[in-house]
């Protein structure tokens, strides 16, 4: 693999080790085929769902777009499969600063849509760095924590990790993109949890997080300090009283609940889904895709998707348990929980059980960055899995 650049600070933590190349045959033999099956199924299902959801839209079905992105995602997945996670571990600093650089670039030169700067327009594709950043963020924090695995019991470790993590979170928050910022935060929490910091530290952090959330949403506004813009706060807390203002702030939420409920057991089909077809459900191709899926395909259709998600989460947790080293375990844990968090917050949001935040539904929502990132995340999971330790036979 040529000349290795050895970071002097890494010395002593871990003996140097050759990066192991894994052949194609080995990869294929050792793949988690159940996870592969889930990936293929959820991709196909997502494409089928989005075709129905967007068929009545002004621009027509988004299927062809999504297929292109899925193909690109498959390429990214395959690429990730053949990169030893060890490389990421060693390169966490360049990855970190590279990610930060791009996020700053978004703020400086990004394309603004509906008052928020999230995208960099590269001509054929609107690239959303914060989506890819989700996986990179986990790789970076895992790299940092793996370096300090012997100091995990110290309070300084989680504090330093949070210090590292806070910067990208803030950069996403000011875009503004609260949903993605929350995903980052959740991923950070999961990474710290799997890395093995003390339970007492976890408890303090959880208390602290709850306190901050309460302060931002209730205490500070009451005192006249608004960290969030009023509409943001309304969207976050609106789900606790959806009927307060049916034509105003909670309009989307109410319509979303109606949309889900109207689907019934078997769904109303593409032609009969009036909430989706007549645009009553906003953003049905992206953030509220689950509501439209539930309307068109009913309880059966929505359940199939949820079960596929559950399958992925289960396999991801299996991979955490079987990981080759702490770094891989942290990465896999971070990815597993991030995935779970996104699925839960997005679907619960459409059903009025979670705050409204702009989080895409994995493998379903229209959007290339999100779809490719999900492929990348599962690619990294599989890369960890194929490099799991196994007992030699004989």
């Amino acid at each position: 693999m040529g000349i290795e650049v050895v970071d002097p600070r890494a010395r002593g933590l871990r003996p140097r080790r050759e990066v192991q190349a894994v052949g194609v045959a080995g990869v294929l033999r050792r793949l988690d085929w159940l996870l592969m099956g889930a990936l293929v199924s959820v991709t196909a299902y997502g494409l089928w769902a989005i075709d129905g959801i967007t068929r009545h839209d002004a621009g027509g079905s988004s299927l062809s777009h999504q297929v292109l992105f899925a193909v690109a995602g498959a390429v990214v997945f395959t690429g990730a499969l053949f990169v030893d996670p060890e490389r990421y571990r060693r390169m966490w600093r360049p990855i970190y600063f590279g990610t930060l650089g791009i996020m700053v670039l978004v703020l400086v030169a990004g394309a603004a849509t509906r008052g928020s700067k999230r995208w960099i327009d590269v001509g054929f594709f609107k690239f959303q760095p914060s989506e890819f950043g989700k996986v990179l963020f986990i790789l970076v924090l895992a790299g940092f924590l793996a370096e300090r695995r012997n100091a995990m019991q110290s309070a300084r470790t989680p504090l330093a990790a949070i210090g590292f993590g806070l910067l990208p979170i803030l950069l996403v928050f000011v875009q503004p993109d609260i949903g993605t910022a929350l995903v980052y935060t959740a991923a950070m929490a999961a990474v710290l949890f799997v890395a093995g910091i003390r339970w007492s530290h976890l408890a303090v952090l959880a208390t602290l997080a709850t306190g901050i959330a309460l302060a931002v949403l209730w205490v500070l506004p009451a005192a006249g300090v608004n960290v969030l813009k009023p509409y943001q706060a309304q969207r976050l807390t609106g789900f606790t009283h959806p009927d307060n203002d049916p034509r105003g702030a909670t309009y989307n939420l109410r319509q979303s609940i109606i949309t889900v409920g109207a689907g019934g057991l078997r769904g109303r089909g593409v032609g009969g889904a009036t909430q989706t077809g007549l645009d009553y459900i906003p953003e049905h191709a992206t953030d509220f895709a689950f509501a439209s899926l539930a309307e068109e395909r009913g309880f059966f259709g929505a359940s199939i998707l949820l079960l596929l998600y559950l399958l992925i989460v289960w396999r991801a947790l299996k991979i955490v348990a079987g990981a080759r080293d702490l770094y891989s375990a942290i990465v896999a844990g971070g990815i597993a929980f991030m995935f779970l968090f996104q699925v839960f917050v997005n679907t619960a949001m459409t059903m009025g059980a979670a705050p409204i935040t702009g989080i895409p539904l994995p493998f379903v929502s229209v959007g290339g960055s999100s779809l490719i990132t999900n492929f990348l995340a599962l690619g990294v999971l599989q890369a960890i899995h194929v490099r799991r330790p196994v007992r030699r036979r004989g």
Binding site: Y251, V260, Q275, F299, Y309, L317, A329
Partner: protein, 668 residues
């Protein structure tokens, strides 16, 4: 890849260079398990919620989803036409287009909504604030459309249709506008149609009226709204979230047109009456005493059954101002109290909604009451002197050029005030246990109370009594206060229809109908029947006959009544009669009484109220078989014989299809 098989077989844990092989620690296993349980719990929440929404409440949400998209449009029913007694169409419809707003489909943000309303205001010419007010008036109820305007122009329709995308929530619907072939004729009687007021809506909600309904606002249109309005139909269409229609409207219920209302009015007589009013006012203005004449009313009744044949009021207006595009400037005299005053209240139906002192036209009441109370016999002569003095006061006759003994007939014919002053004094002197006989008879003869006219809106007027006076001036107690005591002068004044007494011209017409028909009080009415609306030319089926209510006898002694009739006939024929110069040469035998009632009025440009004569004439014909009663009032028109009587004659001329030659002469 073949050359790399050797290294690839060796997987990492076996590498001797790894000093500390990684193992799944119990701690990590525990944490993975925690994550696993968390995942299961969260998915359980999702499934339960999904189950609750889709399976348990699915039907409810399905219904709400359908409510979202289905708009029930109203198909307006054409309002029933109104025809006169001969079937001439007085009010009909002309098709129009109405602009309607569906609040639920307007933009959700205030700025976008206001911007759209501004655009709509620019197109329709209705002020933005009026549209906002109309929306607010209906409580911003999202599912009740608000009619912005009826009767927009073709160009406006095209514009709205072409720019539909810019006007979410704006619908165009077929509408019907009232059309008045005779323009301002009978305006106050017919009334007009307009959007239901919140108060009316509250009261009529249970009868199926809707907040966006049109409803008769006054007169016939209001009183017979239930028959005229018909029944609206409905159509349904599907709209998207921005209120843009996605399907054509599918009719669900066809509208039922309103029924035809036949009036007792004779529209030709009505036209003659309105022209006669203008003629009378013009005539009055020629004389110095009637220089301020500026309005009036003529009522014509059939004395046999109370059919209102004509009911004219001046000044008047065109009810078409209320149909379609509203010109606020032209409507101001009808809606703005200040402008209305300056224009002398054109919206008022002066036959029923304005009271005047009756003056000498009241004398037959005094005559009947005096005979019934046996204060006088018809043939007892009393002195008709230039003045009558009593209680230290002097009451003057309208002309000082007389001093002779006359009987009741002549007193009526000459309209001798002093004759009736004596009777008034006699009424005052009656012992209190006999009650207030004059006032009692006035009430029995239908004065000072509403007549029961079917369109309502009447005011009762006033027949003053001692009790009224006491109460009016702060009593009881009544004794010991100068103001509250009934003085003899009040009875004396009342005998000639002066003082506080106030009646409507319709009450007087009804009273003269009683004289004409031999003592029966009729109930005046304007509606004859309701008929099925057919396409033109078809014989119409009568659905409901309103007809005349049977006249009620007022229990007047026929003999007494006959003397009054003779007196009235003499008034129009004897050389000394007050209106013989007007009716003396008329081909048909008309009997009637003039009146010149003094009233304090405020005249524009004068600092104080001045006393002006209200010119009256009431009478009937033909004398031996009366079929029509006419009562005319010319406000500030001077003496009855010089303004009201000639105006009334014009009505008789139209009624009998003949003309007369008249000679004007001074009268009372």
């Amino acid at each position: 890849m073949a050359e790399r098989t050797a290294p690839s077989r060796r997987f990492l844990p076996g590498d001797p260079r790894v000093s500390e092989p990684y193992r799944l620690t119990p701690q990590l296993a525990l944490r993975v398990a925690v994550l696993g349980f968390l995942a299961l719990a969260l998915f359980a929440v999702l499934f339960l919620r999904l189950w609750a929404l889709q399976i348990l409440s699915g039907q409810r949400y399905l219904a709400q989803a359908n409510d979202n998209r289905v708009r029930t449009l109203r198909l307006e029913a054409p309002r029933g036409p109104i025809v006169d007694r001969n079937g001439l169409v007085v009010v009909t419809n002309t098709p129009g287009t109405r602009v309607e707003l569906w609040p639920s489909d307007l933009p959700k943000t205030w700025q976008a909504r206001l911007a759209e309303l501004r655009r709509l205001a620019a197109v329709t010419g209705v002020a933005t604030k009026d549209i906002v007010a109309a929306l607010a008036k209906h409580g911003n109820d999202p599912l009740t459309p608000v009619v912005v305007q009826r009767g927009i122009k073709q160009q406006q329709i095209y514009y709205l249709l072409e720019h539909q995308v810019q006007f979410p929530g704006v619908h165009l619907g077929d509408s019907f506008l009232r059309k008045y072939p005779y323009q301002s004729l009978a305006a106050q009687v017919l009334g007009y149609v307009g959007q239901i007021s919140p108060e009316d809506y509250k009261a009529l909600k249970k009868k199926g009226y809707q907040a966006s309904d049109s409803i008769g606002q006054s007169g016939i249109e209001r009183a017979y709204d239930t028959y005229l309005r018909g029944k609206d139909g409905t159509a349904q269409l599907t709209v998207d979230s921005r209120g843009r229609p996605k399907t054509a409207a599918v009719p669900r219920l066809t509208p039922t047109p309103g029924e035809t209302l036949r009036l007792t009015l004779d529209i030709k007589l009505q036209r003659a009456a309105e022209r006669a009013l203008k003629y009378g006012i013009g005539l009055a203005r020629l004389s110095s005493e009637g220089a301020y004449a500026d309005g009036g009313t003529i009522v014509a009744l059939d004395p046999r059954n109370g059919d209102v044949l004509a009911m004219a009021s001046n000044p008047t207006y065109k009810p078409s101002l209320f149909a379609g595009r509203k010109d606020l400037k032209k409507l101001a005299p009808l809606l703005n109290p200040k402008v209305a005053k300056a224009d002398n209240y054109p919206a008022l139906n002066r036959a029923t909604q304005v009271t005047y002192p009756p003056g000498s036209t009241f004398k037959p009441v005094t005559a009947i009451a005096a005979m019934q109370a046996h204060l006088v016999t018809p043939n007892t002569p009393l002195l008709c002197s230039p003045s009558y003095s009593a209680y230290g006061q002097t009451f003057h006759n309208w002309t000082p050029l007389i001093n002779q003994w006359i009987d009741l007939r002549t007193a009526l014919a000459m309209s001798c005030d002093t004759y009736f002053y004596r009777l008034g004094d006699d009424f005052f002197k009656l012992p209190s246990d006999r009650g207030h006989l004059l006032q009692g008879w006035a009430n029995r003869l239908g004065l000072g109370e509403t007549t029961g006219l079917d369109i309502g809106g009447e005011i009762p007027g006033l027949i003053p009594t001692p009790e009224w006076r006491c109460k009016q001036f702060g009593g009881p107690p009544c004794q010991g206060y100068v103001d509250r005591i009934w003085k003899p002068g009040y009875s004396i004044q009342l005998a000639i229809g002066q003082g506080d007494v106030l009646v409507t011209p319709l009450q007087m017409a009804r009273f003269y109908a009683l004289i004409a028909n031999g003592g029966k009080l009729v109930t005046p009415h304007l509606a004859e029947d309701v008929e099925q609306s057919g396409s033109s030319g078809q014989p119409l089926r009568v659905l409901r006959q309103f007809g005349a209510q049977p006249p009620e006898s007022a229990n007047v002694d026929p003999a007494a009544l006959q003397y009054v009739q003779l007196g009235l006939e003499e008034a129009t024929h004897a050389p000394f009669g007050t209106s013989s110069g007007v009716f003396g040469n008329f081909k048909y035998d008309i009997a009637g009484k003039t009146g010149s009632a003094e009233k304090f009025v405020h005249i524009k440009g004068l600092p104080n109220a001045i006393k002006l004569n209200q010119s009256w004439w009431c009478g009937y014909g033909p004398f031996d078989k009366p079929t029509i009663v006419v009562c005319a009032v010319i406000e500030n028109g001077g003496h009855g014989g010089s303004a009201a009587a000639p105006a009334a004659l014009k009505v008789f001329e139209q009624y009998f299809h003949t003309t007369a030659t008249t000679t004007a002469k001074p009268s009372d």
